[in-house]
Symmetry: C2
Subunit: 360 residues, 2 copies
């Protein structure tokens, strides 16, 4: 099968093999070495000198970890959203008692930095700004550099913090964490990282560590301060998904070998070929072309066609794509192209798409 959903992504054979190793003591020397190697490589890909913390959970778990460590009930939080995952991030903040100011761009569009500027001016006491770098539900990559610049320019006394959902971007699309002054960046093992699902990874700035000391939201499992303490002795507070870490270590070695610039260029090539090929088939992109993502492409289901039937027909040809989420159910097809992917995989998708469309 050519697995082309926006995660879990396919595993390279070396990663699969590594994932099959037997267990070790997560409080012993082999684990210390494993965790150290993975964190060092993660920091390289995050382009950060900040600490990177690994928690066992999904990407959503990583988003929850960011929220519960940084807010106190009643805190004002600006959530810049343009799709399902932005809304989820906002919903998590709301669930834990934040007063969420929702800055919503139309789905398919990117968040406008000028609107974020205005929202920050209206909300000078905002504690956090939540941004989804790459919105997987619509195939939009937000202009995080500009959004981060807006936050930076309006930051007073260390507020607000910029908290980025980089789940489907880090490791595939440039996100220089430190240059853009992102306080927390969240990602997950089953996306650009070519590893199985089970781990979320978060970079945490000095400002964010300080904020955690003041935040009163109840937390235990996701308490990043505990993770930081245990990291000093090469451990995690709770038993981690060791097998996923085995896979991630090997995947990171592959990423080091390929090099960040080459990885970004490959994702650009793949994204471009997907978009060109889809247009050549008469399909329309859901995302505004200027912000079309290089990791996920959302295609409008042609009028008269049935979205779910198209997904099924593609599967019959060995290509697994995702349908639409939330209010886009039945209206878009989503093709994932991050991690272990090259242009040849996309050619297969396009051929299958052509046949599926021809069948009506």
């Amino acid at each position: 099968m050519n697995l082309r959903v926006p995660g879990p992504t396919p595993l390279p054979p070396q990663v699969r093999e590594a994932s099959a190793a037997d267990m070790i003591n997560h409080r012993g020397p082999e684990f210390r070495e494993l965790l150290g190697a993975v964190v060092a490589d993660l920091r390289h890909v995050f382009q950060t000198d900040n600490e990177v913390v690994i928690v066992t959970g999904s990407g959503t778990g990583g988003l929850e970890a960011a929220i519960v460590n940084l807010i106190s009930p009643g805190d004002r939080v600006i959530a810049a959203t343009c799709g399902v995952f932005g809304e989820r991030f906002a919903a998590i903040a709301q669930a834990f008692g934040a007063e969420v100011i929702n800055l919503a761009a139309p789905w398919g569009q990117a968040i406008d930095p000028l609107e974020l500027e205005a929202a920050l001016d209206r909300t000078p006491d905002a504690q956090l700004v939540l941004v989804t770098h790459n919105e997987t539900s619509t195939g939009v990559t937000n202009d995080l550099r500009s959004l981060a610049e807006v936050v930076r320019a309006r930051r007073r006394g260390g507020r607000p913090l910029l908290v980025v959902d980089g789940i489907s971007s880090v490791g595939a699309i440039p996100l220089p964490t430190d240059t853009w002054e992102c306080d927390v960046v969240v990602t997950a093992s089953q996306k650009a990282w070519m590893a199985p699902p089970g781990l979320a990874m978060l970079s945490v700035s000095a400002r964010a560590w300080e904020a955690m000391e003041r935040a009163t939201c109840p937390r235990f499992y996701w308490d990043l301060r505990a993770a930081r303490r245990y990291a000093e002795r090469g451990q995690t507070p709770w038993t981690p998904a060791v097998g996923v870490l085995y896979g991630l270590r090997v995947a990171l070695q592959m990423m080091r070998t390929e090099g960040l610039e080459a990885i970004y260029a490959r994702h650009r090539r793949v994204g471009q070929r997907m978009r060109e090929g889809a247009r050549a088939l008469g399909l329309e992109l859901f995302a505004s072309p200027a912000y079309a993502s290089d990791t996920v492409t959302a295609l409008r289901v042609p009028s008269g066609a049935n979205g779910e039937a198209l997904v099924t027909r593609l599967r019959e040809q060995g290509v697994v794509v995702a349908g639409g989420q939330g209010k886009l159910k039945g209206q878009v097809l989503r093709v994932g192209h991050m991690g272990y992917v090259d242009v040849g995989d996309i050619e297969q998708v396009l051929e299958a798409l052509g046949r599926a469309l021809a069948l009506g």
Copy 2:
């Protein structure tokens, strides 16, 4: 290495091989089948007609899921503790705003049902009783049958609920969930289940589902109501640790083939051999003999010996055991014997222990 920590436990070759399979769409038909098969087998081992929910996280994550779904801030919770993990369970309840009544037995002893009875009489408004079935830090198996009977006899209007940490017991030591009327039982994939870490599994009674509707503790990632909704279509709300599920499916098939009674008998044999052999070496059990666990044995470090040096010396001989936790640091050795283990593994441990002790 003979990995004899109390989790992660060794993986059978079949489980390792299964864990190396490539990824699938977690919203597709293969996943639905995978989840269905795993849940059916889990219910068999839990001996329950209740729903069993799978979350991605460690055992501690599973305990947190139980707490945040069942309490409202200010709720009174009786935590019956006799070691590190009981205290952790109590600490989670406290972190999320419960008023915790700590019913602590001396470490090495089991919780006295009569004391639980008295605590329940003093606290007629207790919403939950938390019990650690098998206390991994001291090697004690509590008499859950009697404790559950005490709770059952004092339950009025559906309260209190009995919430059991069965992390290092279910699948190795009898825990008939329904017969003993346990409302929530929590366990984790890397213990008796012979699978890699990354998943926690919880059985949830009808009473517990009802209680969730009233509980006001904030929750999102761990919200078991979301898990229940998604389970209806063969999915999990967030991307699960698919590779761990692959392994768990195969491990459960092995457990079905062996049969529950045979599994329990094997753990009894293994536990007994470990205790006899240790005594023959002149070592003293930390646990009260009547409650010594068949999944973990805690041995007192002989006076004059150095606990950490013993752990290192055992490792040099290919046997990996754990030291003491919390106030038992340096005072005990802990040998795990649950899951993929038989008497031969214990003979190896005993031989290595003999040599390590002889070296002084």
